[in-house]
């Protein structure tokens, strides 16, 4: 059976997910809104998913896709915890700007 993934060279997938990953990293480093930082982190995780699926399809090796399932489940748990933390903070200070959170300094 011809593998549809193989019509695009694998290295393109690697470049694409590396690019997405870098966008996520830059987003985390330069944005100051907690929700947007959070979205950038999700982007990083999803670029990993893309990469894993690409490798998995290339090698005809299912474990890669199972790993993706686990990443998705864990990411959902992270979303739950993260949003809960952000809501907790929003209740106390009415903002999600992390610059407002600088009480802890040496």
């Amino acid at each position: 059976m011809p593998n549809i993934f193989q019509t695009v060279p694998l290295i393109h997938f690697v470049y694409l997910s590396a690019l997405l990953f870098c966008i996520g990293v830059v987003g985390v480093l330069i944005r100051r809104n907690a929700i947007i930082i959070f979205m950038s982190i999700e982007l990083m995780l999803n670029s990993v998913n893309l990469l894993l699926v690409a490798f998995s399809a290339y090698r005809q090796d299912p474990p890669g896709q199972i790993f993706v399932f686990f990443i998705m489940a864990v990411a959902a748990a992270e979303v739950a915890v993260g949003l809960a933390i952000i809501i907790m903070i929003y209740r106390n200070i009415r903002t999600v700007d992390i610059n407002e959170l600088s009480r802890l300094k040496g």
Binding site: G24, P63, F67, F70, V74, A77, E78, G82, L104, G106
Partner: protein, 456 residues
């Protein structure tokens, strides 16, 4: 595996303690459960069984580190019980989260598949994010929780990208397969990149320079008991997983990255110790000291020879004992004098001689003075590095240990040589006895180190 199942079940039971109204049972149940789980671990000693299609293996390394983590959790839960106030709404949930975290530790230290490494790290981290925000109305706790969460999730991204690249290069998540494939094909570009990203993710988790910037804030903002938990159990498990990963997958090609880890270790030790000098808050000072200790433990990861496992185990035990008791003493001082600068320790030797004794022993152990466990911890780590020819790293380590003596002794000197008019410190019953027990254990290990060092 029985160990892991019982820990999880225990966590589930403890979780319901609050809402099903058997709160007073939670502490005894968890203590008994943790002791039982440790006995299950001891029972499985030398069996070397694999579970879940060879995704995890309960070898002696895994069991030893699981037991260390469980002992740390046991102490934390006891102290949490002593110090919790009656209106602590989420008492049972906090205990349950600690139990889930230690279940994560057990997964982390017994993995033979990168999937299990990832899951273990996440189970531990997710529990810790919530625990750091335990005081919902306290802004410092909120901030600590958010920072820890964002940085933890960020580092998970690096870890995962590293795993994905490694999978691309070797075609498997199993450590045996990865080691085998790397043995045949050698480190190609993709595998090296994967290793680098994996290393960045793990260095984040163990708080090594230059990825340490979140640590002081998180450790200072979190409730002290949670800080003690993060700094001991969390760190020990992270190091055990770090070392296990490198032993299982990358040991043959260690020449390629030893210099990197050695440099990181040297910078971490120096930066952690020098920054610690400038802290007025003792809790924050201990946070920097934990960064410095990450540096010492990284030396064992760098050396990666036959004695690394034993030396890091001993170091973990010594560090856990001393750290938990010093955080506890900081907590007692905070509660009685509303602050934790070195001046708040004034006269402790007169008012509370036993607490001052425990403080002195734990600080001596953290700085690595002979006749305490900390000395042999450092001795084992350094001597195996020297025998592999890493004299320069050890030289840096020794110099930074001397620097550390200065700030570790500050509260001790204040306790013994300065006067105070403050009243005798009060603390919950049992605290003092446990602190003395921890100090005696520290001294015992400092006199008879062979007891633990040769075990794995």
């Amino acid at each position: 595996m029985n160990l892991l199942i019982s820990l999880t079940a225990l966590g589930v039971v403890a979780m319901f303690g609050g809402i099903l109204k058997f709160r007073s049972m939670v502490m005894p149940l968890s203590v008994l459960g943790l002791i039982g789980a440790s006995l299950l671990g001891v029972y499985a000693w030398n069996t070397n069984q694999s579970f879940l299609n060879d995704m995890m293996r309960m070898d002696n390394y895994a069991i030893a580190f699981s037991i260390v983590c469980m002992a740390g959790t046991l102490l934390t839960i006891l102290f949490f019980h002593f110090f919790h106030s009656e209106n602590e709404i989420h008492y049972a949930e906090a205990v349950a989260l600690m139990l889930f975290a230690v279940a994560g530790c057990a997964v982390m230290v017994s993995f033979t598949n990168l999937l299990m490494l990832f899951l273990g790290i996440e189970i531990l981290s997710l529990s810790l994010y919530v625990l750091a925000g335990l005081r919902k109305k306290d802004l410092l706790s909120n901030e600590s929780s958010l920072k820890y969460f964002l940085m933890g999730a960020f580092s998970t991204g690096f870890l995962l990208f590293g795993i994905a690249l490694l999978y691309g290069a070797t075609g498997s998540f199993a450590t045996t397969q990865i080691a085998y494939q790397l043995g045949i094909a050698g480190m190609n570009g993709m595998a090296a990149m994967g290793l680098l990203l994996l290393m960045i993710g793990l260095l984040f988790k163990v708080a090594a320079v230059p990825f340490q910037f979140w640590t002081p804030d998180v450790y200072q903002g979190a409730p002290t008991i949670v800080t003690a938990f993060m700094a001991t159990v969390g760190k020990v498990a992270a190091f055990a997983a770090f070392l296990r990963l490198f032993q299982l997958c990358f040991a043959p090609s260690k020449e390629g990255y030893q210099l990197v880890i050695g440099t990181v270790a040297a910078i971490t030790m120096l930066a952690g110790n020098i920054m610690a000098i400038y802290q007025s808050s003792t809790k924050r000072m201990l946070a920097y000291s934990s960064i410095a200790h990450a540096g010492y433990m990284l030396i064992a990861v760098m050396t990666l020879n036959a004695s690394s496992n034993g030396s890091i185990l001993f170091y973990s035990v010594a560090y856990t004992l001393a750290s938990i008791s010093s955080f506890l003493i900081v907590m007692v001082v905070q509660q009685n004098r509303n602050n934790d600068t070195a001046d708040d320790f004034n006269g402790l030797g007169k008012t509370n001689p036993w607490i001052a004794f425990a403080l002195a022993v734990s600080m001596l152990s953290l700085s690595g003075i002979p006749a305490t466990a900390g000395f042999f911890g450092k001795f084992y780590v350094f001597s195996s590095a020297v025998s592999d020819g890493f004299i320069w790293v050890v030289a840096v380590a020794v110099i930074s240990s001397f620097i550390s003596i200065y700030y570790y002794f500050r509260p001790v000197i204040a306790a013994y040589s300065k006067q105070t008019h403050d009243p005798v410190m009060t603390m919950p019953a049992g605290t003092q006895a446990l602190l003395i027990l921890l100090s005696l254990l520290t001294i015992l290990l400092g006199i008879l180190p062979g007891f633990i060092a040769g075990i794995i």
